[in-house]
Amino acid sequence: MEPVTFVDRASRRLGTYAAEANRRGAERLSELREEAAADYAPLDAMRDRARAVRLHTLANLDRYLSRFADEVEARGGKVFFASDAAEAVEYVRALADRHQAELIIKSKSMVSEEIALNDALEADGRRVVETDLGEFIIQLAGERPSHIIAPAIHLSAADIGRLFEDRLSVPYTDDAGRLNTIARHHLRREFLAADMGISGVNFGVAESGTICTVTNEGNGRLTTTAPRVHVALMGMERVVPTSADLAHMLEVLARSATGQRLSVYTNMVTGARRPGDPDGPDELHVVVLDNGRSRALGDSTAEILACIRCGACLNVCPVYRAVGGHSYGSVYTGPIGAVITPVLDGLGPWGDLPYASTLCGACRDVCPVRIDIPRVLLELRRRSMDGGHAYAWVRPGLTAYAAAATRPWLWRLVLGAAGVVGRLVGRDRVIGRLPFHAAGWTRHRTIRAPAAESFHAWWRRNRGA
């Protein structure tokens, strides 16, 4: 059973192959992003523009969603508004039922993982096949993604070779190229035979009802072209007002995610097959999901909904690099996960997640829409502390500390006492073991003993009052 606190989940993963693989992946993607940024002077201005587009959209979200739905429907598509995970799952299950969809293929959709759609469809006896190579691999392994854009990065090629040997009945190989070819051939058959394709949505365009999906592999295109029914799952915040805005967002997305100028396939779908089109799906359904997002909207944490899921924040985060994605315990990981999960799901179960950060600010520096994640983390920590959701032991200590720090006479007393203690217990002014919660420090570090004479005392002695 997965432990319920971040520290427990992290502790069992520190130093493991999976965590180290996550680190290597994160470092590599960060390097690529930095090279792309260094090479592209307008990127800062583009990030400002991307942020402005996203915030304006959020401030007018109901209008843009309304327009989006009108446009999709004008082109023969259907839009379903799902207030929560259960409604979204029900809709897709009913659709699969109506179309007697036995084989369903999926391209990357974090929303589908958020609502646990695969489990529900499989429970109905349908076969659901993930087609993004990383998602396909973790589906076979029965695991969750460890990174927003490289979900299987925590597995080695040998792990994957064994997995394929076991689940696909192919001879073992740990050669990445051969493993790719095996996946290509296996998934091709599924693509061409599937009854329904479920995709995510990178961006919905309000003015035209266009759905944009972005992949490097081509599975996004195949998922939204081959089957007769296409279902697109969209977090309700993923709209932009116009096609021009879409172009602006595309310019920052791939650069921030992988350092590429554009992903290999930027796929824009507007409605289902038109009269005269030789191929494409016969039906298009768009499921627009709330599932807690409206909680963030009216709130000082609203800017987290501007996220375009590029993964840049994960890649630079020292905490993510140390513990890997699975430590975050949820679909969304890294810095953005530490704010989105508590907001969507509540601080009750996730009260400690906003504390999984040193507040170093590296995430804010790389975010293409300039989300001030540290500010949101602090806000969520306030709420968590007020609600008693995590680190309650900190309160008495800090309250006592504040009592001393606001009374100069008491501060003097405390520092004086600390100086005495320091002289007694510190050997060469170093302490090897601290009591209670402070033992966490000395588990891995020594600490200097308090100075015999504080700065306050020295100043009084040498410089007068």
């Binding site: 020292p318 040193t358 500390y401 004479e453």
Partner: protein, 242 residues
């Protein structure tokens, strides 16, 4: 002769007053008259970062009140405390009876290296240090929130004697994070070890920084792994005490 106020910070006050003395000495050497408002203690950052707003307001308010009785630049030998006073305390105290004082104080606050290089125009450290090949660790709050990076490097590069090395990933966090170090000690240590591996690999004898929290955390890790590498605050290096 410019008059400056020293906000010495709670950590230096209790654990490393020699840094406070060194800061004072360096400022005086560069022609400043240094004042110290005795009622100061803590800027409130630990409570603020923990989400304990009431305690943070109390501490920040007391500090602001103490500093507001003085005039002139407030020099802070800590990037994170300077950041707290400049960027967070005004918002924290907005709506209290110290709101105006908080704003008045915020515009006076200068981190130590920033004050020396940008305000006083100091470009030469004016010291010699033969036994200290050094590597600079840019603490995160100062680096990202105050833009402090160039200033310490200018001063360190001008020191005669042993030279400066560069870490491979200098801007990666050291893993201190304040209370994070005891709230998530294993994660903090894992990040610390990555940083220490990097710093130790440079072959430098000394890690120099402008934030005592980070330095104590790194020093604690170095001692625990039996390393000879030392840590020093920039003020100590500039005061010739290393």
């Amino acid at each position: 002769m410019p008059s400056v106020q020293l906000f010495v910070t709670c950590l230096i006050d209790a654990l490393a007053p020699e840094i406070g003395r060194a800061t004072t000495a360096v400022l005086e050497r560069h022609g400043c008259r240094v004042g110290f408002a005795a009622a100061q203690a803590c800027c409130g950052q630990p409570a603020h970062n923990a989400g304990l707003e009431a305690a943070a307001i109390a501490m920040a308010g007391r500090t602001v009140e103490a500093l507001d009785t003085t005039r002139g630049p407030v020099v802070v030998p800590s990037g994170s405390c300077a950041d707290m006073l400049i960027h967070h305390v005004p918002e924290l105290l907005a709506g209290t009876d110290r709101a105006a004082a908080a704003v008045r104080v915020a515009v006076r606050v200068r981190e130590f290296s920033q004050f020396l290089v940008d305000d006083l125009g100091v470009a030469e450290a004016g010291v010699r240090c033969d036994g200290c090949t050094r590597v600079y660790h840019p603490s995160c709050h100062g680096l990202r929130n105050l833009g402090i990076d160039r200033q310490p490097r200018i001063l360190l590069d001008s020191i005669e004697g042993a030279g400066r090395r560069e870490a491979h990933q200098p801007e990666q966090c050291c893993g201190f994070g304040g209370l994070f170090a005891v709230e998530m000690p294993d994660v903090s240590a894992a990040i610390m070890n990555t940083k220490l591996d990097d710093l130790v690999s440079t072959g430098a004898e000394l890690v120099v920084g402008v934030d005592l929290g980070c330095l104590l955390h790194l020093e604690g890790g170095l001692r625990r792994r039996g390393s000879d590498m030392r840590v020093a605050h920039l003020a100590e290096v500039l005061a010739g005490e290393v």
